[in-house]
């Protein structure tokens, strides 16, 4: 790893951020454990295991932070080096849009555009192939689930699906 890709106390140190997120989660779990009551050692309460797991998380996260600061860690840039980082971001955006649409538009009206987007956004499949796949795959699944297995799929405000 080159020097530019390994940094110590810098904001783009990915190890440092990993540790800080872990620490924040640990503190939250400790606090949740305390709120749920620890009980006594001979009668542990609902928060007992949460509290001690949270403490362990804080210790482990602190170890990661110390190692990130003293030994350094890879930058975010180096983690995504040579990767086509826009492609997973596009897929994530498509999935988020899908999750927002699923309940409102129903299974078919949200899945067909999702499939078309996925087929065209990353290494585009030609339209003549993408359109039939995007239509037939969700329709086929819908038919099997709804007609054969009698599974209720979300039908959305238009009642389609």
């Amino acid at each position: 790893m080159s020097d530019e890709s390994n940094v110590k106390l810098r904001l783009n140190n990915s190890e440092l951020w990993g540790g800080l997120i872990g620490l924040a989660l640990g503190v939250f779990v400790v606090w949740s454990g305390l709120r749920l009551k620890l009980g006594a050692i001979n009668d542990p309460g609902s928060g007992y295991v949460l509290f001690y797991t949270g403490l362990l998380m804080c210790v482990l996260a602190a170890t990661i932070i110390v190692a990130a600061v003293t030994e350094g860690g890879p930058t975010f840039g180096s983690r995504w080096k040579d990767a086509r980082w826009t492609k997973p971001l596009l897929v994530i955006a498509a999935l988020i849009a899908f999750s927002l649409a699923l309940d409102r538009l129903g299974f078919l009206l949200s899945t067909i555009p999702l499939m078309l987007l996925l087929l065209r956004l990353v290494d585009p499949v030609r339209w003549t192939l993408a359109i039939p796949i995007a239509l037939l795959a969700p329709l086929g699944v819908w038919w099997v689930l709804k007609r054969m297995l009698l599974i209720q799929l979300p039908s959305g405000i238009f009642g389609i699906g």
Binding site: S14, E15, W17, G18, G22, L25, G26, V29, S32, L36, A40, I41, N42, D43, P44, G45, S46, G47, Y48, V49, L50, T53, G54, L56, M57, L60, A61, T63, I64, A67, R79, W80, R84, W85, K87, P88, V91, I92, L95, I96, F98, S99, L102, D103, T111, L114, M115, L118, L119, V122, D123, V125, L129, I133, A134, A137, V141, Q152, L153, P154
Partner: protein, 502 residues
């Protein structure tokens, strides 16, 4: 005699037409996901878990088990022909298998891999039949302290074997425990970490978590790179290895089988570690280690046998103790629970038909796999030519459907997408999801057993040390936790570390 009678009863169950069909579907899908890079047995099993709900427990578990050991067979095909491991346990097969294929010996490489897998799989089943009932009778004496310590050991072994920082792997395991505790407290019925959402009262489902972390995240990782496949186009002939191949492979198959079986039993171990260990062992024992990496058939025979034997061995802790030794078995435990069956020491006596039926179905499944993987190899080669840009949207579609069908709840689809995104970023910054998933499954059981043992011992922590089995488990766990601080021990850990705990 009693074992033979039980096996007879098992075959009675496994040979029922519906179970034969489920077994075939399982091994077929297992081979399919093994062959296709980017989708592994974990994703496939979680995808199909809801489908098993409509049938009997026997049928469902037979199919799920078939997917697991079927993927071990299929993974080698992709490794040998494309130089891309179909699943994690076949990573090491790429090294010599693909070299053999390039030298025009794809047939013997595929043949020895399938036959070695068959021999190892059969041995593992016989050993499973002989060991499991005995271990189950011992396990009846296990108390909550023993169970708790065994689960701690399982988690520590898995974090020890996970690639990269052990602190990160342990942090993942802790997060898994916390996620597993979401929902109603099983003792006080108090809601925990539900944030007032009714959907969280029963906790987060295993299926959306696994599908997100392994299915969606894997797709996101794969979209980052252009997947180039160097598929061997030559016609594959001479699948049956010749005399010299058999002579060279007999030892590696035997050693790989035994090594794999024992590593499969160990909590936290599994097929991935066993295939790497077998490869290292064969290279060390070979009089001509320089041949390894250049198409040595021993480098295919040993690891492929080891990963199949491990797949069989991994059933032992699940069936006898009710403790899943790895993530795949954790999913299988989920399948048992969904069907209202609690695996553990009493399962063999209370549900003999189920236990022996599963074991017998694995024999039948192994024979089916031999047929699927040798005469039908051409079909799998064609499948390898399916472009990834068409495959991955279909994987996403099936993950959405699989998750939705597991609960008929759109909330689970949101959970899956969230875990998919989290899993992608986690993997990018070096946090492996396997310890999280195993801890997610073990977390509630660990908590239950810890609290029970503390109540029973009236708060005396020595109870974990005074009981011999518990003390041994905790001692090994401590060694594995402290060991990496020593440089020589750390180097050994890096050698055996897994990319993905399976």
């Amino acid at each position: 005699m009693e074992t033979l009678l039980n096996v007879g009863q098992g075959f009675g169950v496994a040979l029922m037409p519906v179970n034969l069909l489920y077994c075939f579907i399982g091994v077929f899908i297992g081979t399919l996901v093994g062959v296709l890079p980017g989708i592994g047995p974990i994703s496939a099993m979680s995808l199909l878990l809801p489908i098993t709900l409509s049938g009997t427990p026997e049928s469902g578990i037979i199919m799920m088990a078939g997917i697991y050991y079927g993927s071990m067979y299929g993974g080698s095909t992709t490794s040998i022909l494309v130089n891309i491991p179909g699943e994690a346990a076949s990573v090491v097969t790429c090294i010599d298998g693909h070299q053999m294929a390039k030298q025009g010996r794809a047939g013997p490489a595929l043949g020895i891999s399938a036959l070695g897998s068959f021999i190892a799989g059969t041995f593992a089943l016989i050993a499973l039949m002989l060991v499991a009932p005995g271990l189950a009778s011992v396990a009846i004496a296990f108390g909550p302290a023993e169970y708790f310590s065994l689960m701690v050991l399982g988690l520590v072994v898995l974090t020890f074997l996970t690639q990269g920082s052990m602190a990160k792997a342990l942090l993942m395991a802790c997060i898994g425990i916390v996620l597993g505790l979401i929902g109603l407290d099983s003792i006080t019925a108090m809601p925990r970490l539900t944030f007032g959402r009714l959907e969280l009262i029963d906790g987060i489902g295993l299926v959306p978590v696994v599908m997100g972390l392994f299915g969606v995240a894997e797709v996101l990782i794969n979209t980052e790179k252009l997947i180039k496949r160097d598929v061997i186009n030559a016609k594959i002939t001479h699948l049956l290895p010749n005399k010299a191949d058999w002579k060279a492979s007999a030892g590696p198959i035997g050693r790989g089988t035994i090594l794999g079986f024992f590593l499969g039993i160990l909590p936290g171990g599994g097929s991935v570690i066993s295939s790497f260990a077998s490869y290292a062992l064969e290279k060390r024992l070979s009089k001509t280690p320089e041949r390894f990496g250049n198409g040595a058939i021993e480098g295919v025979a040993g690891p492929e046998s080891a990963n199949n034997a491990a797949a069989g061995g991994a059933f032992i802790p699940l069936m006898t103790l009710g403790i899943p030794p790895n993530v795949v078995m954790a999913l299988l435990l989920g399948a048992f629970i969904v069907h209202g069956v609690q695996p553990g020491p009493l399962m063999i006596t209370q549900n003999p038909g189920l236990f022996w039926g599963i074991v017998a179905s694995m024999y039948i499944g192994n024979v089916m796999l031999l047929v699927l993987n040798l005469p039908l190899i051409g079909m799998w080669v064609q499948l390898l030519k399916l472009p990834y840009n068409i495959l991955f949207p279909l994987i996403i579609l099936f993950t959405i459907i699989g998750v939705y069908c597991s609960s008929n709840n759109v909330f689970d689809v949101y959970v899956m997408i969230a875990f998919g995104v989290i899993g992608y970023f986690m993997r990018k910054i070096g946090y492996e999801p396997a310890p999280l998933v195993l801890a997610f499954v073990l977390g509630p059981m660990m908590e239950n057993n810890l609290r029970k043992s503390l109540i029973l011992s009236q708060g005396d922590l020595w109870t974990f040390v005074e009981r011999p089995i518990s003390a041994v488990c905790l001692a090994i766990a401590v060694v594995l936790l402290v060991g990496p601080l020593l440089p020589s021990f750390r180097k050994k850990r890096e050698l055996v570390a897994l990319e993905e705990g399976a």
